[in-house]
């Protein structure tokens, strides 16, 4: 499918322990899909395998960004092909300012030797920081160093907004955010929603989905999607908990 993020029968493991088990999912451009599921079912693993993390081994299966196969490519090639991952636990990069880091990421996407418009860059950066209610002082802070949990997540969304990927995977971006931040960050994501971008939002809580209203909700269990539905599915899950899924699975 040309205009989609397509994941087909993906089997991946860490060491000799299988985590993703015949995982399949399609996120068409322009849609927001949510993945919910208990701790340890492999949600973060899915995001890292898609992004090409070297620790995971893919036994079989494929993943496509608008028809381009990405499994087996280097992480930076996948990123430049249009996949962005907002990390559950973002890394700190001492000595490298946010402004320089995002700039380097943008330059990496340009043709070699192409001129960089610093003025336009800073204008855009400041506008997006304003939208995320981030103090401008943050541009000269080192990436994630000494940031609070919420500040790290905001910084991830700032990068997302500056890099404008085709598909974004947000891994528990809501954890660590206070109520106001949750709303601000969600508004940032909502502003990016449109026909050119697809989102895969990993979360444990219905609350985030009140702000970022999903087109589809999937329940992940033991390495695969076991249940899919509309946005009401998240409400149902909140009400009944995962036991209900477990019973359902037992019946099947």
């Amino acid at each position: 499918m040309p205009d989609s993020l397509v994941i087909k029968n993906l089997n991946a493991s860490i060491g000799d322990r299988p985590i993703l088990k015949d995982f399949s999912l399609t996120v068409p451009k322009g849609e927001v899909h949510a993945i919910m599921g208990p701790n340890g079912t492999g949600k973060s693993t899915l995001s890292k395998v898609l992004a090409g993390h070297p620790d995971y081994t893919v036994q079989s299966g494929e993943a496509f960004i608008d028809g381009e196969q990405i499994i087996g490519l280097e992480p930076d090639v996948i990123a430049r092909a249009g996949l962005f991952l907002a990390f559950q636990y973002p890394s700190e990069i001492p000595g490298v300012t946010i402004a320089n880091f995002i700039r380097a990421a943008i330059v990496a996407r340009q043709a070699k030797g192409a001129p960089f418009d610093a003025k336009a860059y800073y204008n855009e950066l400041y506008a997006k920081m304003d939208a995320l209610k981030m103090d401008r002082k943050f541009t000269s802070r080192f990436v994630n160093e000494g940031f609070s949990g919420g500040e790290k997540k905001r910084c991830e969304i700032l990068q997302l907004m500056m890099l404008k990927p085709k598909y974004a995977v947000l891994d528990e971006t809501d954890s660590g955010l206070d109520i106001d931040a949750l709303r601000i960050v969600s508004e940032g994501v909502n502003a990016m929603r449109g026909p050119d971008t697809g989102f895969l939002v990993i979360t444990h809580y219905q609350r985030l989905l009140d702000y970022i209203v999903p087109d589809r909700v999937h329940i992940m269990w033991d390495g695969r999607i076991v249940h899919s539905g509309g946005k009401e599915l998240a409400l149902e899950l909140e009400e009944k908990g995962y036991d209900w899924v477990k019973q359902d699975l037992a019946k099947a």
Partner: protein
Amino acid sequence: MAEIDESQAQREAIEVDRSKGDFKYEENYAFDAGVGLTPATIDYIAKVKGEEGWIREFRQKSLKIFQDQPMPTHWATADLENIKFEDIRYYLSKGQKPVRTWEEVPDDVKKTFERLGIPESERKFLAGVEAQFDSEAVYSRMKEELEKLGVIFCGPTEGLRDHPEIFRKWFGKVIPAGDNKFAALNSAVFSGGSFIYIPKGVKVAQPLQAYFRINAENFGQFERTLIIADEGSEVTYMEGCTAPKFETATLHSAVVELVALKGAKIQYITVQNWSANVFNLVTKRGVAEEDAEVRWIDCNIGSRLTMKYPGVVLRGKRARGEVLSIALANDGQHQDTGAKMIHAADDTTSNIIAKSISVGEGRSTYRGLVHIPKTLSNCRNNTECDALLINEHSRTDTYPAISVRGRKNSVQHEASVSKVSAEQIFYMMQRGLSEGEAMSLAVNGFVNDLVKEFPMEYSVELKRLIELQMEGSVG
């Protein structure tokens, strides 16, 4: 003649480009001391230079010291044993005298320096330039207004000949021939380098620059630099160096002596990017008199083995000494660097910040020496050494020797070792940076606060050299 990659030859503005060092021109030397080192070699060099009397004796005595002193392998690396002193050529020149316009420089030599961007930098931001090719300078020029103020900027041969009274007073006084084996070697066979005198109260705003180029294989370059800043004067001196990649080891062993008289300031900047088979064994020391300041900025990127510990003897009250150093050890390289601060008067302060990066199988060593005797009071030293390891095979060692006595003196010492984790690299690559770009960003982040202290042109250059090294280090 080696091929020149045209895409590489395209230079950006104001960059003295040491990354492009790997090319060489034919060897056709008028003066060649031959292979090996004997008293006859010394006589040959002295004769070519027209030296007589005390300096010849000094050279011969130094040769004796060199031959008598053992290799310092009881504390330094055994790799030193791999230097084949008997296979080295100790003096090579085309018989040139340093000229004052680039047009007069022989074509092939001129091309070398043009490729390295020297004439361009001279036009843009330098007060004076000296360019050395193997044993002798080929070009030496300083702005006229400085000459009128009495500033002297030439080589040691010219210094000895034209300004014997200043030269002899200071030469070999900060670093005597017997200081160490390699200082003795340099004292025996030195040729080229800079002799600089800044008269009282003269503040040279733009830097003076020397550029050292090794072109010949199996060659030893032994330049000798002596800078005297008279009372209240100021000068910044920068040196750069490159050599082509040879099959066999090449030796570079310099001696640099700085004298900052009362209230004077000397800043000495090195960006060393020797190719990976150069043994770089250099002795650098400065003396700071009352209220004077000596500052070494020392960046070592290339070479097979560098051993260099710039020092300052704080001889007058309120003198200040500083060493800021960055060393990057890539696969097959050992950067053995550090600093020495010898406090010899009250109220003196010294500061050492050393950052080392080890990549692949690279190894970096920090050796520090801070000495404050208990007879002094109100002396302070701050030492900070940070090491960054880029993967599990790289290695770093720290040997800080701090002897601070007396209750009225203070010392502060901090050391850290950090690693660039696979998770950090993945995070950066997820943003679209290649592995090499991610590593150089991490390295630049690590040295960032120190590089801010450097003159702008040099921080730009250093950043690019780091990028080249990091890109070269990923498979």
